[in-house]
């Protein structure tokens, strides 16, 4: 006997603007206030790069100008369109303000060794970070997240999260060095500062994605993808900071390139996944699991649990790194690898386990939903397609067949059809679990879209 188990809705507000938007707006407002405070503190205490404001101010000025233009044109429109234009103007204005704040703060991180070293360091870190983002997006084998959101997540990690924590950590450090006994206790408190503030800064991005882009945030797998993307972005900017800073420190001794190169290897190769990506993936996992839990208490507990593991994993690295001293020569080189594997490897393994469990759960659910959809006889999914759609490898083989017969256009059209069919299965899964706040019409619209795509993809 089989039946749908009765359960409470995970998102029991079916119509109107959900309360989560208000929460997202509140968090966004707090972030902007903190960033404005950061910039003011930059201006008062770190006014070392006067040119940066004029350079990036120009872009902001252009955006302000366009926003003003759109704002003025809004009043030439009828009232129905006016609101849309006003919203566009406000968005442009917001982007201008954020650009000013973000880029001016970002410059703080790469100023120590001069622009050439900063550019070379950036060029060295872009391919590795891009590779990391490509890999984490690929592991979401059933429904890949849109590049725009993955990149937004990474950009948040690189620009916003780093800007959010710099003053908090500096303030914490200044109090600690003035009050505590130097040594392991002081190291521990600074590790608490890094774990707590950095994971909160990065985790805020994942939380905002969860609140605002619920349609693209399906489960634990998506949470891990977005969390890791934020972590990779943060790691990118932190790598730049350390590379440029250590270059500047060791360059007078002729060892600047070696110091920067070592930092690149440690952070962009060895620690690409075993570091910030792992820590923030825990935050994402917690939020992704919360997405599918039925009651508010469990949701909050899952989110808090994700943050706790992320903070603990980050803390353990920063606090206990010195317990694994590294010597010189080949043994030292082996030690560096062993230290990362021993200290961060277990956490990365747990993320992988959560990912595998999530993927397995997702695959089982999608298979069931595809079968149910095929059984309706509506032609959106036909029975012969079910086994193909449930296997990434078989989907790929079908696309290759399309490529072979009709060229790249057929490949792309079939890929769109398969993605839409999997989207529908995902929608059905969430609806069955009562996790959607969209009306049923959206699902029917998706079916109509699939039928059109099927006609286009026919060969």
């Amino acid at each position: 006997m089989s039946a749908v188990a009765p359960r409470r809705s995970a998102n029991p507000r079916p119509h109107g603007r959900p309360a989560r938007y208000r929460l997202a707006a509140l968090i966004a407002a707090i972030v902007v206030i903190v960033m404005v405070a950061n910039s003011l503190l930059d201006y008062v205490f770190l006014d070392t790069i006067p040119g940066r404001t004029s350079l990036f101010g120009l872009v902001a000025v252009v955006l302000v100008a366009v926003a003003t233009f759109v704002f003025v044109r809004a009043f030439e429109r009828d009232p129905a369109q006016r609101t849309r234009y006003l919203v566009r103007a406000a968005v442009l204005l917001g982007i201008a303000a954020l650009l000013w704040l973000l880029v001016s703060d970002a410059f703080l991180f790469a100023s120590s060794a001069g622009p050439v070293v900063a550019v070379v360091s950036t060029a060295a870190c872009i391919p590795t970070t891009a590779f990391g983002l490509f890999v984490i997006r690929r592991i979401d084998r059933n429904e890949k997240e849109p590049w725009r959101l993955v990149l937004v997540a990474a950009a948040w990690g690189a620009l916003v999260a780093t800007s959010l924590v710099i003053w908090g950590e500096s303030f914490w450090e200044q109090i600690a060095v003035r009050t505590l006994v130097p040594g392991p206790g002081l190291d521990a408190t600074q590790a608490f500062s890094a774990g707590l503030l950095e994971e909160l800064g990065k985790g805020t991005a994942v939380l905002l994605l969860f609140l605002v882009m619920r349609n693209e945030f399906d489960d634990v797998v998506d949470g891990i993808v977005y969390g890791a993307a934020v972590g990779l972005g943060f790691n990118f900017m932190e790598s730049l900071t350390y590379m440029t800073n250590l270059y500047a420190i060791f360059d007078p001794a002729g060892a600047g390139p070696i110091a920067a190169g070592f930092q690149w290897y440690a952070r962009q190769v060895l620690g690409l996944f075993m570091g910030h990506a792992t820590y923030t993936a825990f935050v994402g996992a917690g939020i992704g699991i919360a997405r599918q839990l039925p009651n508010r208490r469990s949701k909050v507990l899952a989110i808090v649990a994700g943050f706790v593991i992320a903070i603990a994993a980050h803390f353990s690295w920063d606090a206990w790194l010195n317990f694994f001293p590294i010597g010189g020569g080949l043994l030292g080189l082996a030690g560096i690898h062993l230290r990362t594997i021993l200290m961060t490897g277990p956490f990365t393994t747990v993320v992988i386990v959560l990912l595998i469990l999530g993927l397995r759960s997702e695959s089982t659910a999608l298979s069931a939903q595809l079968r149910k959809e095929a059984a309706t006889g509506a032609g959106v999914v036909v029975p012969e397609e079910v086994d193909i759609l449930r296997s990434p490898w078989r989907r790929f083989r079908e696309r290759l067949r399309a490529l072979d017969r009709r060229g790249i256009g057929a490949y792309v059209r079939l890929a769109r059809l398969q993605a839409a069919q999997l989207d529908l299965a995902m929608e059905r899964w969430h609806r069955e679990r009562q996790e959607l706040d969209e009306p049923l019409e959206a699902e029917d619209e998706l079916r109509r879209k699939i039928l059109v795509l099927r006609q286009l993809a026919a060969f």
């Binding site: 006997m1 089989s2 039946a3 749908v4 188990a5 120590s112 060095v177 003035r178 505590l180 006994v181 130097p182 040594g183 392991p184 206790g185 002081l186 190291d187 521990a188 408190t189 590790a191 608490f192 489960d219 634990v220 500047a248 420190i249 060791f250 007078p252 001794a253 825990f282 996992a285 917690g286 699991i289 599918q292 839990l293 469990s298 507990l301 899952a302 808090v304 649990a305 994700g306 706790v308 593991i309 903070i311 603990a312 994993a313 803390f315 353990s316 606090a319 747990v350 386990v353 959560l354 469990l357 999530g358 397995r360 759960s361 089982t364």
Partner: protein, 163 residues
């Protein structure tokens, strides 16, 4: 879902909670470490006197010039301590920490009377480097107990400029 079949999300949730429990143990261990090395009940009310931080000549072992709080990377510098203000029955040490928390200069641990002829504590150059590392240096006069520092009796912060 079949009746009696466990929801996989619940399995994930429980796995996450187990991990969070491990996380709490890690953070508790961190707190224990912090309180072990920062025993707040150990305050003796004593204060040492750091008479200043000066330019230092490593050849003559003499300090010169005014008391300063910033130095260039190329400059040698040292702190001077008046050990006579401390009681004879305690164990103390004076340590320089660089911006990476490395120990770059130290006298003690010993009784204050034994350190009377070591009033000047210079900052040593890191091995293999010709200049000091830039950043904030901390000079701390610490009281030791049971083989570990338990209290800072005096502290000075010095900035070594990048250029």
């Amino acid at each position: 879902m079949a009746v009696g079949q466990r929801d996989p999300v619940v399995t994930l949730y429980r796995t996450l909670l187990v991990c969070a429990a491990v996380g709490i143990v890690i953070l508790a261990a961190g707190l224990a470490e912090f309180f072990y090395f920062e025993p707040f009940a150990q305050s003796s009310g004593l204060h040492a006197r750091i008479t200043g931080v000066y330019a230092y000549d490593p050849v003559t072992h003499q300090t010169s010039g005014p008391d300063r709080s910033t130095f260039l990377r190329t400059e040698q510098f040292a702190a001077t301590v008046d050990w006579s203000t401390l009681p004879a029955n305690i164990t103390v040490q004076a340590i320089w920490y660089d911006s990476f928390s490395n120990v770059v200069g130290q006298v003690g641990p010993a009784k204050p009377a034994d350190l009377a002829n070591q009033a000047t504590v210079p900052v040593e150059l890191p091995q293999g480097l010709s200049y000091h590392l830039p950043g904030q240096y901390v000079f701390a006069v610490e009281r030791d107990q049971g083989g570990q520092p338990v209290e800072v009796l005096a502290r000075r912060l010095v900035e070594v400029e990048r250029t």
